[in-house]
Symmetry: C2
Subunit: 573 residues, 2 copies
């Protein structure tokens, strides 16, 4: 039985490229992409990808070469998710919110051979390229500008333009055969809030399996109409770049995620699905009357990046959106757990439902296992919703590894598990709930304090809009919680009110020793609060309020300027 050999008929390397080939045959005349006045069918998308792939090869792009792209959610970046690997190469999508320096670091580290730049980002791309030139790397990538396909601008950044590559390419190109499903397909750099960006490599196998698992996890049926409110540069659009082809759906591409553009597209095209960070809920909720359009059908939202606060879920659902919460990270090809709804929850109050929805849920089907391990002995914690530990994952949707970063690989992969750096619990019903990033846990007098737990209590105060809690050095307890709070407009609340509120709702050791009111919190592009910045500010509170001795012990001078900048930034807002 063991001797039955693999052959071309029964062992075909797994790759999401088959989804496009299949779509070009089975969904040939269905609309694949809508962008303004531009429309393509799946047959056309396939042919355009063939053309781009063949043009890449004529530019000497071959197996395992990196092709970078800096672009918003326009058709070109969607097509490149297929075209680049069809040429045997590896797609590297770059976060458009990065500065020139970080872009240059990525181009250099990835050894990108070609760099596609949307015309809107030509200035920053130029700067990044200049930085590369001065750093004297052996080969500067070839630049291809992406003009706006709907309203071309004529902007150029060198010789080459995307549509020209499409035009000159061969629509009958036969894609490079994927002979090993472990071969790389994409390279995504982590946001690097705390360190240099790390290059996360996905395999064809991982991308294929994650795509199927997420379609299942979200229960996305055939013919979805998918709004690109999530940047494709985030884990390849949480795999839905490939997933929409698998489902024969329609991609609604948009350049910006402002309220007007989202509502207009949702209503004109009967959008059924969209992904976004919870921060986008606010954009949708705060739409001005001329931007807002009432939904005509229910829109499924898959959200992640940060747990959606229960009141926010309630508000957005009242508009006709239906929220599913997922948890993931770049290293896990996007969402790794989905908060699967249970029929029996239908009978609960809206409030209880929103609380359940805020949990991270259960592993997607491709993950072989999900565990929360005790920090000290690496044993599984009790599934009681209380015992905290580090969230660990294993399965074929986990990245191949970090590119050229053995140290990071060694610390991420241990004993057959991937360590996420997130701290969580597992509830009795098997649903995981993240309590914190491990680096965000506050250790006060030897007790672990989940910053998220303190934040939830503060946010339950009627005058609080948002709160973020970080560790602040403390002479006696080592660390103690410090809260940054945004209040509702014109409220007369004082620091002591928040502290009293916490005292009534939390164990004493968890009550913040300091509450700072701010107008806005520093956030990453995906809406994650940059707690490292807040921690630096918190340290200065101690410096200002407590003895210099503590400051010397816990603070490194190199952070100081950054803190000042951050305080400045906060006070400006």
């Amino acid at each position: 039985m063991d001797n039955l050999p693999k052959c071309g008929a029964n062992y075909v390397p797994l790759t999401p490229l088959t989804f496009l080939t299949r779509a070009s045959k089975c969904y040939a005349n269905r609309t694949s992409i809508i962008y303004g006045n531009v429309r393509y069918t799946w047959k056309q998308t396939y042919e355009r990808c063939c053309r781009v792939a063949s043009s890449l090869q004529s530019l000497n792009v071959f197996k395992n070469d990196v092709v970078s792209v800096l672009a918003p959610n326009v058709p070109a970046i969607y097509e490149m998710h297929f075209a680049v690997p069809m040429a045997g190469a590896v797609l590297n999508t770059i976060n458009t919110r990065l500065d020139a320096n970080n872009i240059a670091i990525i181009l250099k580290h990835s050894e990108a051979k070609v760099f596609f730049v949307d015309y809107e980002y030509q200035e920053i791309a130029k700067k990044a390229l200049e930085l590369l030139t001065t750093s004297k790397i052996p080969k500067i990538p070839l630049v291809v500008v992406i003009n706006d396909i709907d309203s071309p601008t004529g902007v150029r950044l060198g010789e080459l333009e995307y549509e020209q590559l499409v035009h000159q390419g061969n629509s009958s190109y036969i894609p490079e055969e994927i002979t090993d499903e472990w071969d790389p397909i994409t390279l995504n750099y982590t946001s690097g809030t705390t360190s240099e960006p790390k290059g996360v490599v996905y395999s064809h196998r991982g991308a294929f399996l994650s795509t199927l698992s997420l379609l299942l996890g979200w229960e996305m049926g055939t013919e979805p109409v998918y709004l690109w409110s999530l940047p494709m540069f985030h884990c390849n659009g949480w795999t839905f770049t490939w997933g929409i082809a698998a489902r024969g759906g329609t991609n609604i591409c948009i350049r910006n995620t402002n309220a007007k553009e989202m509502y207009t597209n949702i209503v004109s095209h009967n959008v059924t699905h969209m992904c976004c960070a919870p921060i986008v809920f606010n954009i949708l909720l705060e739409a001005k009357p001329h931007e807002y359009k009432p939904l005509t059908t229910r829109v499924q939202i898959l959200t992640g990046g940060a747990p959606p606060p229960a009141p926010l879920v309630e508000k957005i659902e009242r508009l006709g959106f239906h929220v599913v919460h997922a948890y993931g990270l770049t290293e896990a090809t996007g969402p790794a757990l989905v908060c699967e709804w249970q029929v029996k929850w239908n009978e609960l109050s809206r409030e209880s439902q929103a609380k359940l929805k805020a949990r991270q849920g259960v592993g997607i089907l491709t993950l072989a296992d999900v565990d929360v391990k005790n920090f000290d002995n690496m044993q599984s914690v009790t599934r009681d919703g209380k015992s905290i530990g580090e969230v660990c994952l294993r399965g074929s949707s986990i990245m191949k590894g970090y590119l050229k970063n053995d140290k990071a690989n060694i610390s991420a992969f241990k004993n057959g598990w991937f360590f996420t750096g997130d701290v969580g619990v597992i509830h009795q019903d098997g649903y995981m709930e993240i309590k914190d990033r491990s680096k965000d846990v506050i250790i006060s007098g030897g007790e672990n304090i989940s910053s998220i737990e303190v934040e939830n209590v503060i946010m339950s105060h009627k005058n609080v809009i948002e709160a973020s809690v970080v560790a602040m050095p403390h002479p006696k307890w080592g660390e103690s919680p410090c809260a940054f709070v945004i209040l509702t407009k014109n409220s007369q609340i004082k620091e002591v009110d928040i502290i009293e509120h916490c005292k009534s709702n939390l164990p004493r050791f968890m009550v913040p020793k300091k509450v700072k009111f701010v107008e806005e919190l520093p956030k990453t592009g995906t809406g994650k609060v940059q707690k490292n910045h807040l921690r630096e500010i918190a340290k200065t509170f101690v410096v200002l309020e407590k003895s210099n001795q503590i400051s010397k012990n816990r603070e490194k001078p190199r952070y100081y300027d950054q803190n000042q900048e951050q305080i400045h930034a906060l006070s400006r807002l």
Copy 2:
């Protein structure tokens, strides 16, 4: 990028066993199985499987050993789908409709080490074992009887009983690690209507991928309530044995698929999904008043094995069932194509819809490709809905191969494709439609006639309930169509009426030269008409009606007795 190694965290062999482990953690207290008054949760099912697996190992069952089971859809056979591979062994489910001789052939060919027998099948199992003993094979399998778990009978067939293995087993057993996803998981014998049964081997990888693809293809969400109307011995229940665990659903096990048992269970447990051959539609439609219960919710039916005639689909859907049609074969781990519904079809007439639904559809997501190849030059046929050829498949859901049957493997796997032996066309919209089994095609005067096409025309006659068309030897044309027809009760239709009806609706060469009215058609357990039997009967018509010379040329005497038997069987019905 290539140098990033596989490790335990990011390359876990794919196996459906992870679905059960996951279910035992994430759906621990949900009902996994209902059978009469018996109920288990997923935690219990997992523990029972651990116990059975550990007991198997204590019976010296190890890696790659075959464990056979002959049982209806009771909880034990469901559990064995996990327990046997958890012990590292290979599950062989045997069709309960086979005779003792075929069962003996399978036990011998598979070299089964243990043979589980449901008490209802003890007599036939005894006969099969006697045949084995007389054939002097080196090792007769160890027999374990499966008593009825809901109402134990006390029947024994040797020393061992299933619940005893559960009882004696170790609930903390740690399943054998699957180190290679290409390892075998199950062994399913084809029905062998035309030849010796062939042993089809599935790998863990193939089973895992097929399961995910079918959940997607059928759009089965979480918490399905699944009625076991399809025997689990057919391609492991078209993978839903594993799929229901993946979805945290409830398995409704039933011993018989009579109308009463099905309706009672559907209504008591709010069944959401069931699979069956179209023949089961008739059982549901012909329920007597005391057997029938009106549905309280819509029940999804996935059907296959034979294309469901459009009027039958219409009738069953009026009762509240919703039919999806799939096409598959044992070699493809069950359904390989699913007739995916398209939104735009909603606006068509019921009749047009039923016609579209009768097509076989598009490949599931795990299939890398589906093609129809010209018989002569093996090139892809034009996608025009007319050009016929052999249906070919490739992808990781195709079997590892036939066990100990090099000849069959060589003829099935050619040039990286699996050849199904089915004849079909591809429509312009990419949907495949089966026209015939290649051996059922009628070649008349050099023209290929699809027997299904002729059948469809005959079935459109208002007095026809069912029709089957096969080749009959013809002195001039080589072969010509011969129709076996079941008429509605008390109809006065004559052979000439059917022939005239065909003349008005078909090209002349496709019109049957002979129409034989029968009371019933010989069918396999899955409701497929046994055309090989009808062909033998058709040959005798020629013998009786035409010259002896033709009979001598085309007929082999060894078929003769069989024909007589068959005619006898038909006339009895």
